[in-house]
């Protein structure tokens, strides 16, 4: 799944998005509430918070390598 703000885009691999334990973990670590747990228990991205991303890498550290990608749209789509 992918969600886009003006400055930041967030991509999560479909397999990872379905991982309920990971969904809970991402929700906990993100300081600006980009991640949430849907009623199904799966991961949900909160559109209005995408541009609040502070580039802290906590989500990257919490997920298996490559599962979460943070993209800086203002920097030629550079990946964090």
């Amino acid at each position: 799944m992918r969600a886009e703000g003006i400055f930041i885009a967030v991509e999560v691999e479909d397999g990872a998005a379905a991982d309920q334990a990971l969904a809970a973990k991402l929700t906990e670590v993100c300081p600006v509430d980009i991640f949430a747990v849907a009623s199904s228990g799966e991961l949900e991205l909160v559109d209005k918070n995408i541009d609040e991303c502070v580039l802290c890498r906590l989500c990257l550290d919490a997920a298996p390598e490559g599962a979460v990608t943070i993209i800086k749209r203002y920097d030629n789509d550079a990946q964090l």
Partner: protein, 402 residues
């Protein structure tokens, strides 16, 4: 926060200091009822926060309750210092033999409250201090030791007052100092204290200011006086634009993006922090610019809060461009502010490179911030460009564009 006279009088009364019979009225009927209670000549006084009431016609004398009611109709119509009166205070017209002054204020240099007393009351104490300095006594009081009374005695005696006068004034001045301490006042003043024909003393007018930071611990008193939580009691009432700024700032708890004050120029300002905003506002004016507003960002506000503030300023009628400037930041992040102001432009259908005259915020995360500004073609400056130089560039741009 300033109190109206009728509230200040009530605070004085509660402190156990004798006051004349008085009532607060917002209609002629209420004024008449209050005057009837007084049973004798009365004074109708406009209730505004500024001075100069007498000159403006806001103080009228009445011999009968009907006359007091008639004066109330007139006084309520007079604007004083840009403010319509909240009501009138109907007061006893006391026959006094002598007027005295007593006040307590903070001395920021000594870091203690200072009691000021003069046997020359009823006029501005600063005038007395200038013309008859030996008639003004001052004494600091301890912040840690409780007041016992000798402090007031010393200050009164130092002005040459003695005898029963001294002994009757000591408890009044002590109670005034105590109420200053108990209520976190920044000013507590009774001017004048009147000596009546029978030798007794009575408070005739009072001014009180409570420290804003301490309002939270005097909720009970404020509620009893009917002071609303939303009453700022600043020298001027907040405008709709300023209230909208407050609403933006209270949107979320992260950082500050507010403290907005409205001006009537064409250059919108998104500036910070405390000292930086003061410096930048001066700098814009020094270069002939006309600011549309004052504001402060700081404490690393969210993108959405910065965006909300920038939108408010961008949409203010008469604003051509905004200047986004701060002193070097170490807590607030350059990239977050850049995102906020660019987002505001885009969401309003404006071109950031056109609307943002200059972006001068050096410091934390500046490399990331400058990348964002580059991507949208916004002119920016790093710390090698002074705050004044940045302000000058913004003023030049707006001059060239209009």
């Amino acid at each position: 926060m300033r109190f109206y006279e009728y509230e200040a009088r009530e605070i004085v009364r509660r402190a156990g200091i004798p006051v004349t019979e008085f009532g607060f009225a917002t209609t002629p009927e209420e004024a008449k009822a209050a005057a009837e209670k007084i049973d004798g000549p009365s004074v109708v006084k406009s209730q505004v926060l500024s001075g100069g009431r007498m000159k403006a016609g806001g103080v009228q004398f009445a011999d009968t309750p009907d006359e007091a009611a008639a004066h109330t109709v007139d006084v309520l119509k007079i604007e004083i210092g840009g403010q319509m009166p909240r009501g009138v205070l109907v007061d006893t017209k006391a026959e006094v033999e002598q007027e005295y002054y007593a006040g307590v204020v903070w001395d920021g240099t000594a870091k203690q409250p200072v009691i000021i007393f003069s046997p020359v009351g009823g006029i501005d104490i600063e005038q007395v201090a200038e013309e008859q300095p030996d008639k003004v006594g001052r004494r600091h009081i301890s912040n840690l030791r409780p007041l016992t009374g000798f402090e007031a005695k010393e200050v009164i005696a130092s002005t040459g007052v003695t005898g029963s006068e001294l002994n009757k004034l000591v408890p009044i001045v002590t109670k005034l100092a105590q109420l200053f301490i108990d209520n976190d006042m920044t000013l507590a003043e009774i001017n004048p204290i009147g000596r009546l024909a029978d030798g007794s003393f009575i408070a005739l007018d009072a001014h009180m200011d409570m420290e804003n930071e301490a309002r939270g611990r005097h909720k009970k008193l404020l509620a009893e006086l009917g002071v609303g939580d939303d009453e700022t009691r600043e020298a001027r009432e907040p405008t709709a634009f300023e209230l909208a700024g407050e609403a933006v700032d209270s949107e979320d708890h992260r950082g500050v993006a507010g403290n907005v004050t409205e001006f009537d120029g064409n250059l919108g300002l998104v500036i910070g922090a405390g000292g930086g905003s003061l410096t930048l506002f001066d700098a814009v004016r020094a270069h002939g610019g006309k600011p549309a507003n004052y504001c402060e960002i700081g404490g690393n506000p969210s993108v959405s809060k910065t965006c909300g503030l920038a939108k408010l300023v961008l949409q203010k009628p008469g604003v051509d461009k905004i200047a986004v400037m701060m002193s070097i930041v170490s807590n607030t992040r350059v990239d977050i502010v850049a995102r906020g102001v660019i987002k505001a432009c885009l969401e309003l259908g404006m071109d950031p490179s056109e609307k943002i005259a200059i972006f001068r915020i050096p410091g934390a995360w500046e490399d990331e911030g400058f990348k964002i500004l580059d991507a949208y073609g916004v002119e920016y400056a790093d710390r090698s460009v002074s705050m004044h130089e940045a302000a000058k560039r913004a003023v030049e741009k707006i001059g060239a564009g209009s």
